[in-house]
Symmetry: C2
Subunit: 352 residues, 2 copies
């Protein structure tokens, strides 16, 4: 049996902040990415960058409130089981908007193309962008294309930015997670990351896992339609469930207690992770969401989620607690506890 | 003396549409870029991409109208006389919004960093982003950072998307250019492109020219404050004045007659262009705008422009005419005429 941890004396592993140059981990969505924002971008931006600099901002425009979000996509390979960089670029940004409770409306699409990339491949990606946007009910309204010299780029990089409308009175964010909240997940975890890794050059392996890339705003709408005061929503992409929960725990200064045996990890994901030495909690998802709701309302929200095709595997995986604020702690199957750390960098880079 | 051209039998040079792969010219903002949008992106996007796909979209959000724009920046070198990729990324997107008549409000900033890039260099660029945003009065509200393997990226790529608010009733666009309009420019042309080229590896040359990178929404506000019905605004960036005027002429089905001797081309730009064999009309600008206004109102608008620091060199350079619709024709200093073509690709790539 694992010994109970001493939360008082525990400290986060030292982040790699003394590197003079960019390393892959800076793009991993973990502690190094957060450091880059707090210790480099924020001071450098000065007064123009005050306030939150998160995945999505909710800001006023005249009488309305919009959600505004951006993401670049550099996934390698560009096509993988269950999707491509094209639908990832649409669903990822749609989901960032949806996690603010916004109705996604418009996307911009900016391509950086490497000279020599086949136009047929660009068209295939663009078709995936169009199909995903159509499926998500968002319009592609503005775009840009740049070309970089052969050897400078890497096929295709995509950036999408998105604008959505936020209903009056709605306030969903990491800061609202509160002691007593139930922590819900919409379904199986680790699926997208494993699907991409399975076709990554040099580490190919056979698996039945396909990416879960999907737009989640319909699921969010179904959850909000219950009338429950949803506190926090997050899509656990880069850095996985571990990074998202750590961010939320720190932002809201709450502890998060996870029940390890409640985590929906498909056998094929568990197998792949054990093969690659990865923690499924740190593997990226592209069609799942975490929700924090008052415990008393958890059943109502779970029922609404399960009635939606993208939430059929919804379940509670933990609770917000007053002890160990800022930390995520898993109750292991053996009855002990383990700290679920914020990933430092990225286990395997470029999965989105 | 140049003979008068036969407009009836003249055709646009054949675009290079039969290449199987991406070439640098596809990112040049000229005919090949336009082809990529019309013949590849638009069909591939399908119904989600219907409607204009321009530099900036004006779309409704509830009771308001917003302008929404995106641009990626891949300029090489990243620092050049008068600016850097950082301020370019802010001013370029602010200007795309301003050309719709919008008041720029919010920017997203997405970095794609090459592994191994010095963090000090990233910080220098981020500081330029912050300073330019502060100067332009826009807030940086959301961001993203990705890292690509060494050798895959090229130092730093930046994407900014922007949101602005459009005042009720305002309608400014290429489609509104009309026969009888005066064509105005806010100042010297070719300055940004020459400044970047002067420090480009392999073709360095001495020049006093520095980039004109600047945010133009204040100048636009001063023009709109005259109460004149401004028909069209455009910042002639990639592809220069030639590309912008050709696009407007085609969109509005008007002819544009330019007076060559009225074009404000600084001697240092003319010298550099003659050294490099470039046409100053095709060289990029980053702090200049073209305006189409009814001829009767030209003097009022010019006076307002000249009273603004960024419009002190404003002048009329041409007129919209009924003849040769869709074409731009320059009246040469010798009394003849020459067609000002849409650039095919780009004279020198990666200037923004």
């Amino acid at each position: 049996m694992t010994a109970e941890l001493d939360f008082e004396s525990w400290t986060c592993p030292l982040p790699l902040r003394d590197t003079p140059a960019v390393v892959m981990g800076h793009g991993g969505g973990g502690a190094m990415s957060a450091e880059l924002v707090e210790h480099l971008f924020r001071p450098a931006y000065g007064p123009a960058g005050e306030g939150p600099l998160g995945d999505s901002a909710v800001v006023p425009v005249g009488a309305e409130r919009i959600a505004f979000s951006t993401d670049s996509y550099v996934v390698k390979p560009m096509f993988f089981p269950g999707g491509s960089i094209g639908d990832l670029a649409v669903n990822g940004t749609v989901n960032d908007l949806a996690m603010s409770g916004a109705t996604p409306l418009y996307l911009s699409v900016a391509f950086i193309l490497q000279e020599g990339t086949l136009l047929a491949e660009v068209a295939r990606i663009a078709a995936a962008v169009g199909a995903a946007a159509h499926a998500a009910g968002v319009r592609l309204v503005t775009g840009d294309t740049k070309v970089v010299d052969n050897g400078s780029g890497d096929g295709v990089y995509l950036n999408t930015a998105g604008v959505g409308m936020v209903a009056p009175g709605l306030e969903i964010g990491a800061h609202r997670a509160a002691v007593g909240d139930a922590v819900l997940i919409s379904g199986d975890i680790g699926v997208h990351g494993v699907a991409v890794m399975s076709v990554r050059k040099g580490i190919e392996f056979d698996t039945t896992v396909v990416s879960d890339s999907a737009p989640l705003h319909g699921l969010v709408a179904a959850m909000l339609a219950t009338g429950v005061d949803v506190h926090t929503l997050r899509d656990p992409t880069r850095g996985g469930v571990a990074a998202s929960l750590n961010e939320i725990a720190r932002t809201a200064s709450v502890g998060i207690s996870l029940t390890e045996r409640a985590l929906p990890i498909p056998a094929a994901v568990a197998d792949a992770c054990s093969l690659l030495g990865l923690d499924p909690l740190q593997v990226a998802n592209e069609g799942k969401l975490l929700a924090f709701v008052p415990s008393a309302d958890a059943d109502v929200v779970l029922a609404a989620m399960r009635a939606h095709p993208l939430g059929s595997g919804a379940r509670q995986i933990g609770t917000c607690v007053a002890s160990h604020p800022g930390m995520v702690v898993a109750q292991t199957a053996l009855g002990g506890t383990r700290v679920v750390n914020m990933p430092i960098g990225e286990q395997l880079p470029r999965i989105c």
